[in-house]
């Protein structure tokens, strides 16, 4: 097969997942240990708390090559740092406003709560989110 030959492949999005150390990352870990299947498009970055993900990081990711960003934290009330996920929730509103200004679809960003024991929920959220991004297509900043 020659290199020039066009290989017809489905669009594989690049998704960055910020997972909090105490709940979502442990949940992802459990999903792995339990051998649950979810798309490989998600690249997980462990952060200590979902509240520490600055909007800059999300915008930077989406304008420099990522097709979607998902932030996962503890359920409200379960935060290891008491109110970190409330900060994350407030920031999510601001991030959505910025996405409008940058001309990026709001659906490319999502905030989800996943506890340490919810491995199946983690796999399900990631599968759903990857499907959404696949439908949206590549990020407008990729061209």
């Amino acid at each position: 097969m020659s290199i020039d030959q066009k290989i017809d492949t489905e669009f594989e999005p690049l998704i960055i997942g910020f997972c909090c150390n105490w709940c979502a990352y442990a949940g992802a870990d459990l999903a792995g240990i339990s051998r649950m299947q979810y798309p490989t498009n998600v690249r997980i970055i462990r952060v200590m708390c979902s509240g520490m993900v600055h909007p800059n990081l999300v915008i930077d990711a989406l304008t420099k090559g990522a097709d979607g960003v998902i932030i996962c934290g503890c359920h409200i009330g379960d935060c290891h740092y008491l109110d970190g996920n409330i900060t994350a929730e407030k920031r999510a509103d601001a991030i959505k406003l910025m996405l409008q200004d940058f001309g990026i679809e709001e659906e490319r960003f999502r905030l989800e709560w996943v506890s340490a024991s919810e491995a199946s929920r983690f796999a399900q959220v990631m599968t759903e989110f990857t499907e959404t991004i696949k439908k949206l297509g590549p990020s407008p900043f990729k061209s």
């Binding site: 800059n56 915008i59 406003l97 910025m98 940058f102």
Partner: protein, 308 residues
Amino acid sequence: MTVKVAEEWLNICGGCEVTILDIGEPLLDLLSKLEFVHMPVLMDHKYFGQTGEKTELEIPEADVGIISGGIRNEKEKIVALEMRKKCKTLISLGSCACFGGIPALANQYSLEELYDKVYRQSKTTDSADTPSDDIPPLLDRIYALDEVIKVDVYIPGCPTTPEIVADALTSLLEGKPFTLPERSVCDDCPTKREKKAITSIKRPLESILPPGQKLEESRCFMELGYLCLGPVTKSGCGGSEKTPRCIKGVMPCRGCFGPIRAGANPMVEMMGALSSIGLDPRLIFDRPSTFQRYIGAHGRLRPLPKRP
């Protein structure tokens, strides 16, 4: 020995050239060391020879090249490339050259939309075809200088401060590098900050300071509700006086000196600065243009994708 200088203006109003003349007395000391070999704004020096006898565009060799203005059309691109070829050190002068400047606000629209607006939709002009004869075609968008050619020294500002131009030229003559420090306008602002806005967002149409009040006694303009781009803008416009020029004139900063460091994202940082003192960014009309008034090149301002 004199240093040869070539100056060129591209997509610009001419204010930055006036700044060179505005250096004042230090210019007299500088002029004895400089020899201008090409400067369309002051000298009659033609691109294709004085009588148009040459076939190739030509700019004389120079040690220092100064270019003001961004790149909007094919002609400006060719001139910029020629300048880079002939000049050993290249200075990009003014916000248009450094970040696209005010003209780069047009980067939010496609060329078709612009032509349509200017030649057909505008209520004050008669409908006409887009002109194409004997004028260089426009590029797809406005480019900052360093998107097309390599730039050695950046002097931002709209227009820039005469003192900085003099400093940059002096450092180049002495063979020293020239950079502006990474400080924000807020670092040099004399007003008092209490980190809490006392009112909602206003427009700077009425007087910000009550008559007779000194700048040092005033609260931060942003806390008074007047949108100021100081937190995300590089300082240096005040020169040796330190106090930023617009602040000194009792007007909020408009952001002409551009981002504080390369890779910064003023739009995101400005939203943070607004919400941290309790102002609602939703009340600001046309945020992308307001926060990036002078820095539309480098793909910062772009047409928004049409959503179904």
